[in-house]
């Protein structure tokens, strides 16, 4: 390989057919005289602009359009050299760092010698070692192209905002489960908004037997095994549900607050007493109607109960998870849109309560297709306020444009699967920890189950890996009509 050109932080390397380099590979461009080396990543592979190639291809086509048949008597065997030159490729590489005195720095301000530089492929294990992507809490994400393992440190996910995105069926949920159970293995408290009911059975291995996570996974299905006793509800939580999930106007909210406080003082807080109080409320008809419709939504959700024995104490589950490590899976599969928002509002309210009162040290939240249940104001809350409380979110989506741009800008880690749509790639490329060229070029060619890992977990050295399989009952498979017919 030969260094050809450098423009900004893009370097072009001439690569001959005997030297194999592909998108995503890392190169070390070593200038021994300067005593330093550039570390660059191949983001595109092009044909080298060899003069005369067009003529070479054209002359084998006569006017008829079919290739002209013939024999080449090449006694000096020049033909392999012609092929060698013709097949030379140009590697477009992005400079990631400078390696000097055993240290990596993100500088690309120097120019290595074009004639003297030695260019060689940098294996992923060596890169990870140089970048010190190692730690005491390893999570094996999968295998890289050079048959090594991509291992990240769980602490690199701690305190971070993560995004897992890619088009449908490429393995996003699988990676999300892998991260989740790995965190669980290290005793973390995890909350999952499980939109499709895929996470509930992670306590079982693929053959249906209990696995090491069985006792740590608490699957909660709203209105089934997950109900809330009205008497145990905090006013701010119920107000959050009414205002944000059920869009109760301000005046009506004030009336509700008054009713709630009155019933609480009388120690008569229940669904039926609440209904009775709203019915007997002496106020504007519109206010009463507004309260009445919200009350029926709460009742119809089946999520609230007057019998404390029937209720699940989420706080207790959270505390248990905090102490021993555990995952609370909120199964939203059979929940209507309104009920989903009520449940999410309740869970997030409880989480913030527990975190702000330091009952809960920190929690990892996995939110699949969050735009379907997360209210507008929560997006900013999650990346700013809640983060400081200790709620570290991982968004999982196949529609990257449903996540706001400011979320991308603040994302610490992005796990990017294949995207072919330019618009989707544009959205993801707005992330602050990644350059648009890398996203556009590498993500477009990622095979299924291959993930481009970007951000803090890989110390800003984007690495492609095939996500490893899990011996878990994942249930994320799409149900097919013709499955057993072929």
């Amino acid at each position: 390989m030969k260094l050809y050109k450098k423009e900004g932080n893009i370097i072009q390397v001439l690569c001959f057919p005997t030297e194999n380099a592909e998108k995503g590979d890392y190169l070390m461009i070593e200038d021994t005289e300067a005593g330093k080396a550039l570390i660059a990543q191949v983001i595109d592979v092009q044909f080298a602009a060899i003069p005369g190639v067009l003529e070479e291809l054209l002359r084998t086509l006569p006017d008829g359009g079919e290739p002209i048949q013939g024999e080449d008597i090449d006694p000096m065997e020049i033909a392999p050299h012609i092929t060698y030159i013709q097949d030379a490729s140009l590697l477009i590489c992005k400079i990631r760092a400078t390696f000097q005195n055993e240290l990596l720095s993100p500088s690309s301000s120097w120019l290595p010698s074009r004639s003297q530089s030695l260019i060689k492929k940098l294996s992923i294990p060596l890169l990870l070692r140089l970048a010190k992507v190692e730690g005491k809490l390893p999570i094996i994400l999968g295998g890289t192209k050079d048959a090594s393992l991509l291992t990240i440190d769980a602490s690199a996910i701690d305190g971070t905002l993560n995004i897992i995105t890619g088009k449908k069926g490429c393995g996003k949920s699988h990676l999300s489960k892998l991260l989740m159970v790995s965190l669980l293995g290290y005793g973390a408290a995890v909350v999952v908004f499980d939109l499709n009911g895929e996470y509930s059975s992670l306590g079982l291995s693929a053959d249906g037997k209990r696995n090491m996570y069985f006792d740590k996974i608490h699957a909660l299905a709203p209105s089934q095994n997950f109900k809330v006793a009205v008497s145990q509800l905090h006013l701010n939580v119920i107000m959050g549900i009414l205002v944000h999930a059920l869009h109760l106007p301000g005046t009506s909210a004030r009336e509700f607050r008054r009713i709630w406080k009155q019933l609480k003082e009388k120690d008569n807080l229940s669904l039926s007493s609440l209904g009775e109080a709203i019915r007997n409320l002496n106020c504007n008809q519109h206010v009463r109607d507004a309260l009445s419709s919200r009350y029926h939504s709460l009742v119809n959700s089946g999520f609230f109960t007057d019998r404390p024995a029937e209720a699940t104490l989420l706080e207790e589950c959270l505390l248990k998870a905090n102490d021993e490590g555990g995952a609370i899976i909120i199964n939203l599969k059979n929940t209507s849109t309104i009920d989903r928002q009520i449940v999410v509002e309740y869970v997030l309210g409880k989480l913030v309560d527990s975190l702000s009162s330091w009952k809960l040290k920190a929690a990892f939240l996995f939110a699949e297709e969050a735009h379907l249940y997360l209210r507008e104001t929560y997006w900013d809350d999650i990346v700013t306020r809640m983060r400081h409380f200790g709620l570290f979110t991982t968004f999982v989506t196949n529609q990257p444009d449903t996540i706001r741009e400011n979320i991308y800008r603040q994302a610490d880690n992005i796990f990017l699967f294949n995207f072919t749509n330019e618009h989707d790639l544009d959205v993801v490329s707005r992330a602050a920890r990644v350059d648009a060229e890398t996203v556009r070029s590498i993500a477009r060619d990622l095979p299924p189950h291959h993930c481009l890992t970007l951000g803090r977990v890989v110390h800003d050295f984007p690495i492609v890996a095939r996500v490893r399989t899990l011996d878990l009952k994942t249930m994320g498979e799409t149900r097919l009509f013709f499955k057993n017919m072929n």
Binding site: I50, P51, G52, V53, E55, E56, R59, P62, D63, G64, I68, Q69, G70, E71, D72, I73, D74, P75, M76, I78, H81, I82, Y84, I85, Q86
Partner: protein, 341 residues
């Protein structure tokens, strides 16, 4: 087929390259223009403006064409590194086929040029003619002379192997020049005739003029295809033209070419031959496709030049350097390089 000449080409090529081992050489990519030594200003040249109208004859006829090419790959401290390649193309059963021979890479120096040239001359032509008159051309002429040797050998092979066909040559049927002795061209024409072939030589450029105008520019308004006959062409000795010269306009395009047809062929047969050519070949700007392909196939592309430079660097350990172009160095943007000097 007698393959002595290509074998000698290969031997001389390898031998000459061994002498340049581990030397430094200067890159250069200038194709050599074959010197047109044939067209000398004749006296009494006349052009019959009454066209011989041609009718397209589709009778299946083999058409074969030959061309060679040479290019300078670089310079060494003692000489030149050049490459030579030949191509024959034939159209048979409505399909074009080709054979390419080469490239042969030579390192030619003042010391080895005589040996290289005479060895190659002797390789094919000696057994029939005296060799005493052999001499080595100048260093700069060597590439075209070597290419010319290969071209005549390919023409001879085609004349021997094709029967009842048309053999298209690039250039004219002028002989008696330094690189085309009369006996050599005569032998090719004799061989072609013996196999019922007719040789048609097309010149892309001609210097033949009547009243100051090129013969190919004096076209009548008749519908093509047609031939215009010339007469009175008497080149200065020792140059001998072994064909009769025509102006051929073979298609609707406005271009016409000088066409030399073997003198020994009867007039009627000549016309029939051109009619068969019109009926069997394709035309691009009125130039036969077979001949065009032979030229295209033997021409060196920049990619091939790079490959040959790679070959000699790797196989013979020659270090490539880029010596500055003195024109550019001295005249900056006004120096267009040696080619334009």
């Amino acid at each position: 087929m007698d393959t002595t000449l290509p074998q000698r080409f290969l031997e001389q090529s390898i031998h000459s390259l061994k002498q340049v081992n581990h030397q430094i050489f200067q890159l250069n990519q200038q194709p050599f223009q074959q010197q047109n030594t044939y067209d000398q200003e004749p006296t009494n040249l006349q052009l019959n403006r009454t066209p011989i109208q041609l009718k397209s004859n589709h009778q299946e006829t083999t058409i074969a064409a030959i061309d060679t090419s040479t290019i300078k790959i670089g310079e060494t401290s003692t000489g030149l590194i050049v490459a030579i390649r030949g191509a024959t193309v034939w159209k048979q059963d409505r399909a074009y086929r080709y054979t390419r021979l080469g490239p042969f890479i030579f390192h030619i120096t003042e010391d080895n040029k005589k040996e290289v040239y005479n060895t190659l001359e002797r390789a094919y032509f000696t057994n029939r003619y005296e060799t005493s008159h052999f001499y080595a051309p100048s260093l700069l002429q060597m590439p075209t002379r070597l290419a010319s040797l290969l071209e005549r050998w390919l023409q001879t092979m085609i004349a021997k192997t094709v029967t009842n066909g048309l053999i298209l040559l690039d250039g004219s049927l002028t002989s008696g020049t330094i690189d085309t002795p009369v006996y050599r061209l005569k032998e090719i024409l004799d061989l072609a005739r013996k196999n019922q072939n007719i040789v048609l030589a097309f010149s892309k450029m001609t210097m033949l003029r009547i009243n100051g105008y090129l013969i190919t520019d004096q076209l009548p308004s008749s519908d093509p295809p047609y031939l215009l006959e010339t007469s009175g062409l008497r080149p200065k000795p020792p140059t001998v033209i072994l064909g009769d010269v025509y102006v051929a306009r073979l298609g609707r395009s406005s271009y016409a070419f000088r066409l030399d047809i073997d003198k020994e062929i009867q007039t009627q047969k000549r016309v029939e031959a051109v009619e068969k050519l019109v009926g069997n070949d394709l035309y691009n700007q009125n130039y036969p496709e077979t001949l065009r392909l032979s030229h295209i196939l033997c021409t060196f592309t920049a990619n091939e030049v790079l490959a040959m430079q790679h070959f000699i660097t790797h196989k013979h350990g020659i270090r490539i350097i880029n010596r500055p172009d003195m024109h550019r160095l001295l005249f900056g943007p006004f120096g267009k390089g040696e080619t334009y000097a």
